[in-house]
Amino acid sequence: MTEQWNVPLDHAVRVRTLVAEEPARPDDQPAVGGRLQRLCRAAVRDLSAGGVGVSLLSDRGEPLTAAASGEPWKQVEELQFSLGEGPCVAAFAARGPVLVSDLAEAAVTVWPAYGPAAVELGVRAVFAFPLQVGVARLGALDVYQQQPGALSSWAVARSMAYADAALQIMLDIESNPDAVDDVLDDVLAGSGGRLEVYQAQGMLMIQLGLTAGDALARIRAYAYLHDRRISDVADDIIARRLKLEKDDSGS
């Protein structure tokens, strides 16, 4: 019954109905992931958005894609982990919504890496709403548009209702270690190469004597410089096709 920003009852009720009525698809993830996918699809239609994604956030604000309204939007959502910046990361830090109505404009100042990369994927505006309960920051809901423009106040309120509904789906998880592990397993299984990134991280930590943070930064820097997917770079590191040097000289 938590309503994090006192979401107006009419929005909350309507969103609940739309999400419940959203049909499942055969290739949907199981359990929580699947429910979030249906929520993303319902939100896309309702908000007339290009795409919607939901990410979980670690206690340090690192995103983990939980669901998106479609495969291409999953890639957009993943950009934030690949580059270590973006709307849901910003929403985590800000403890509140982050609304960017023109990514091309914002790119230079706000997200020098994420901005152009997202624009290249067809995203021109992005609006992130954190999933928060009390002091705990669990994740964020990202709304993407393929043309620049601000969200109307109706759409902001509606998006908040979707964020709250996503939060409720997460809070439905039973509060025991097994249930939590199961959900995490499902999310990671659908995360498209995320596990390999962590493994590559571990390899670099030993290879180059780096901290976890520096190892991840090294992988990100290489992927960005060579315009490659971070999961592909990780695969190469693990297969020993790629040996990184300690410094960021781009080799």
């Binding site: 670690s58 002091v135 705990a136 920051r137 809070l171 270690p177 493994q199 991280q201 693990i238």
Partner: protein
């Protein structure tokens, strides 16, 4: 009670709503609710019960020890105004407990014996959810005036919303922490797989097999050992010394 100033009443309402503070203490809050409502209607005694996870009422606060006895009694015998109130979600009262033997054969005589002649129970409810009951006793055969009944119920409603919100937030915070811990643990294990792969020139999956066997053979926890592989590998020579 109608002698209370509206200013003071407003203050009391605000206090009842104030559950979302860092230093919220459930027992203190419930004690405050019990004491204030008792004072407001000039009751002799008051008690507050909340249902536990098994839907059994538990005494959470009383205005004095004598009421404690009575409330305990109610819980034990599964009988009394609080039980009726909790199950019906409606207020329950008796203006003269001396005539309530049929209604509450075990509770009523004992209440009279303890010096209470009338009782009023208010549900702690939000919409269809009843989480407990608030019990007010008087030594006289008084009926609480309808206006005051409404005020006490309103206070109970405010307290209930506050309790439910605080509960939901606490649960959400706990769950988030569990998710964060599980994620961090999983990340460390994946990193350790990679570390072992690097050390031994094997694949991460093979690294995981070695990690698991090592933990099994030495009765160690996977998550802790994985962390040591990354932070203090020399402490686990059996696992981290390269061998072919």
């Amino acid at each position: 009670m109608s002698m209370i100033s509206s200013d003071r009443l407003a203050e009391v309402f605000v206090e009842f709503a104030d559950t979302l503070v860092d230093e919220f203490d459930l027992i203190e809050f419930l004690q405050m609710v019990t004491t204030h409502t008792s004072d407001l209607v000039d009751a002799r005694a008051a008690g507050l019960l909340l249902a536990d996870a098994n839907h059994r009422l538990q005494v959470m606060a009383t205005s004095d020890e004598r009421a404690q006895m009575l409330e305990l009694f109610q819980v034990q015998t599964q009988e009394g105004p609080c039980q009726d109130c909790y199950h019906s979600g409606e207020t329950v009262h008796s203006g003269d407990l001396r005539e309530a033997d049929e209604r509450w054969p075990r509770f009523a005589p004992r209440a009279v014996q303890a010096g209470f002649l009338s009782v009023h129970a208010f549900p702690l409810r939000l919409r269809r959810q009843v989480i407990g009951a608030l019990n007010l006793f008087s030594a006289a055969t008084v009926e609480i005036a309808p206006g005051d009944v409404r005020i006490v119920q309103a206070l109970a409603d405010v307290a209930t919303i506050g309790l439910l919100q605080e509960r939901a937030i606490r649960r959400g915070e706990v769950l988030t922490e569990q998710l964060h811990t599980a994620l961090n643990t999983r990340i460390v294990i994946e990193q350790a797989k990679g570390a072992l792969a690097q050390i031994h020139g094997i694949t991460p999956d093979e690294g995981f097999d070695r990690l698991r066997s090592y933990c099994r053979n030495n009765n160690l926890r996977l998550s802790q050992t994985a962390l040591l592989v990354l932070n203090d590998p020399t402490s686990l020579p059996g696992l981290t010394t390269p061998r072919h």
